[in-house]
C-alpha cells in the first residue's frame, strides 16, 4: 500500500480555514452557552416553581436528545416552520448552543451550590440584597471554580462541532471530507486530520488546568 500525502499539501490552506471555522464555532458556542447557562441556573436556583419546572425540563431534554438530532431539526425543520432560511453556520451555532447551555447550566449550578452558606451569610450581614450577593459574592467565586468544567465544555464542544459537517458547515471535518471526495485518499487525510484535532484538544485541556491552578485561590472561600 502506498501513501500519498500530496492532497493534503495541495489543500492545506483550505483545511486550515476549516480549522479556523471549527475554533470560531466552538468558542462562540461556549460563550453563548455560558451566558444562557448562567441565566438558566440562576432561574433554577432562585426562581419560582413556574420558572424552575420548565428550566429543569429543558435541561433534562437537552441531556436526553443527541446533538445530531437537535442540529438536523434546527437546520431542516425550523425553516419549514418559520420560513426563515439560515446559513448552516448559524444553524450549527444555535443547535450546539441549545445543547451546550444545558450542560453549562448544570456546571454553574454545581459551582454556585459548592460555595458554603457562610459566604451568603457574610453578604447578608453586610446588608446586601440577594441579587447583590449572587452578583458580587457567589458568581465571581463560582466562575473561578467552574473554570475546569468550562474547559472540558470547550473541548467537548470542539469535538461536537465536527457533527456540523452533516449540515455542510465548512469546518475542518467537512473540508476533510471534501478533500477525501476529490482525491480519494481517505487514509492519509483522515489520519492527518485526527492528529490535527488531537493536537488542538490535548494541550487545550492541559492549558486550562494550568490556568486554573494559578487562579484557584480566588474561588476558595
Amino acid at each position: 500500500m502506498e501513501l500519498d500525502f500530496s492532497p493534503l499539501l495541495d489543500s492545506w490552506g483550505y483545511l486550515l480555514g476549516g480549522l479556523g471555522i471549527t475554533v470560531l464555532l466552538a468558542v462562540l458556542t461556549v460563550l453563548c452557552s455560558i451566558v444562557l447557562g448562567m441565566a438558566l441556573s440562576i432561574g433554577r436556583i432562585y426562581g419560582s416553581a413556574w420558572l424552575r419546572i420548565p428550566i429543569v425540563f429543558y435541561i433534562d431534554t437537552q441531556r436526553a436528545i443527541p446533538v445530531f438530532v437537535v442540529l438536523v431539526w434546527i437546520y431542516f425543520a425550523v425553516p419549514i416552520l418559520t420560513g426563515w432560511n439560515f446559513h448552516p453556520f448559524w444553524a450549527a451555532l444555535v443547535a450546539l448552543t441549545l445543547n451546550a447551555s444545558a450542560y453549562a447550566a448544570e456546571i454553574v449550578r454545581a459551582g454556585i451550590e459548592s460555595i458554603r452558606p457562610g459566604q451568603v451569610r457574610a453578604g447578608l450581614a453586610l446588608g446586601m440584597s440577594r441579587a447583590q450577593i449572587v452578583r458580587q459574592v457567589l458568581l465571581p467565586q463560582a466562575l473561578v471554580r467552574m473554570l475546569p468544567s468550562f474547559g472540558s465544555l470547550l473541548t467537548h464542544t470542539i469535538k461536537d462541532t465536527a457533527i456540523a459537517a452533516v449540515i455542510a458547515v465548512p469546518e475542518l471535518m467537512k473540508r476533510a471530507e471534501t478533500v477525501v471526495g476529490q482525491s480519494y485518499r481517505p487514509i492519509e487525510v483522515f489520519t492527518t486530520i485526527m492528529f490535527v484535532y488531537f493536537i488542538i484538544l490535548y494541550p487545550g485541556s492541559r492549558l486550562i488546568e494550568r490556568l486554573y491552578q494559578r487562579v484557584a485561590h480566588l474561588g476558595r472561600s
Partner: protein, 263 residues
C-alpha cells in the same frame, strides 16, 4: 461605697442609664423538633461588651443570628434600638447595615483584595463612591494593623490576619453594635492574641459588642456582662466577677470546671 454593696453591681452595669441597644424577649427558636433557644430574655446596653458563654450547641450562636435576622425567631421578640426586628427582607437589610458581624470562619470574599473586602459594604450597600470607600477601608486596615496587606488576597493571609480584615469589613459599615460569632475558634493559638487585642481596643472605644466565645480570659477581662447558656436557656448572667469568681449556679460551675477554669 464598698465593693461588697449588693446594690452596686446592678447600678454599675454599663449603660444602665441609657436605653438598651438590643432586648431579647422570651426568644424561642426551633429547628424542626430541636429547641435551639428556649425562652431567652436578656438585654444589651449601650457601650457594653456582653459575652455569651456555654457548651457547644447551647444556643449562643443561634441567638447571635437571630439578632441581625439571619434567623427568624419562632416566637418572642428581638428589639433593636426600641423597635422589634422587621419580618420583611428589605427592612431586615436596613437593620443588618447597622450591625456588624464577624464569623468563626472569617468568610472573607476570596476573589477580592483585602482593601476591597473592607470597601465592598460601603460601595454596594451604602452606595458610597469607590474612592471614598477605599479611603475609609484604608483607615480601618490601619486600625487593625494591616495596611501593608491592603493589596493581598485573603488566601495569602494568616487566620488571625483574615479575622482582623473581617472585623475591619464589619466596621466599615459604621455599625451601632458588633456581633462576634466565636471569632477565635478557627485560629491557630499563636494568632488568637492579635484578634483579641483588636476586639479589646474596640471595647475600650465604647463599641457595643455581643461576643460568643470560648476565650474565658477575654470574657473575664473585657466583658461587662456575661451570660451563661445551656440547652437553649440562660442559666446565669451577671458581671464577670460574679460569673467567674462566685458563680451562683451549679451548671456555670460545671461548665467552667470542664474548661479547667478555677478563678
Amino acid at each position: 461605697m464598698s465593693a461588697d454593696d449588693p446594690m452596686l453591681t446592678s447600678h454599675q452595669r454599663r449603660g444602665a442609664d441609657l436605653p438598651p441597644v438590643v432586648v431579647y424577649e422570651e426568644v424561642r427558636k426551633l429547628f424542626g423538633d430541636f429547641v435551639a433557644l428556649d425562652g431567652v430574655s436578656i438585654q444589651v446596653n449601650q457601650g457594653e461588651v456582653m459575652c455569651l458563654i456555654g457548651p457547644s450547641g447551647s444556643g449562643k450562636s443561634t441567638l447571635l443570628r437571630c439578632t441581625n435576622a439571619l434567623e427568624v425567631v419562632s416566637s418572642g421578640r428581638v428589639i433593636f434600638e426600641g423597635k422589634p426586628l422587621p419580618s420583611n427582607e428589605t427592612e431586615a437589610r436596613k437593620i443588618r447595615q447597622r450591625m456588624g458581624m464577624v464569623f468563626q470562619n472569617f468568610e472573607l470574599f476570596p476573589h477580592k483584595s483585602t482593601l476591597d473586602n473592607v470597601a465592598i459594604g460601603p460601595i454596594t450597600v451604602l452606595g458610597m463612591k469607590e474612592g471614598d470607600a477605599r479611603a475609609r477601608a484604608m483607615k480601618l486596615l490601619d486600625k487593625v494593623g494591616l495596611t501593608d496587606k491592603a493589596g493581598s488576597f485573603p488566601s495569602s493571609l494568616s487566620g488571625g490576619q483574615q479575622q482582623r480584615v473581617a472585623i475591619a469589613r464589619a466596621l466599615a459599615m459604621e455599625p451601632d453594635v458588633m456581633l462576634f460569632d466565636e471569632p477565635t475558634s478557627a485560629l491557630d493559638p499563636e494568632t488568637i492574641g492579635e484578634v483579641l487585642n483588636v476586639m479589646k481596643q474596640l471595647a475600650e472605644e465604647g463599641m457595643t459588642m455581643i461576643v460568643v466565645t470560648h476565650e474565658m480570659t477575654f470574657a473575664r477581662r473585657v466583658a461587662n456582662w456575661v451570660v451563661v447558656f445551656d440547652h437553649g436557656k440562660v442559666v446565669e448572667q451577671g458581671p464577670p466577677e460574679q460569673i467567674f469568681d462566685a458563680p451562683t449556679c451549679d451548671r456555670t460551675r460545671d461548665f467552667l470546671g470542664h474548661l479547667g477554669w478555677n478563678g
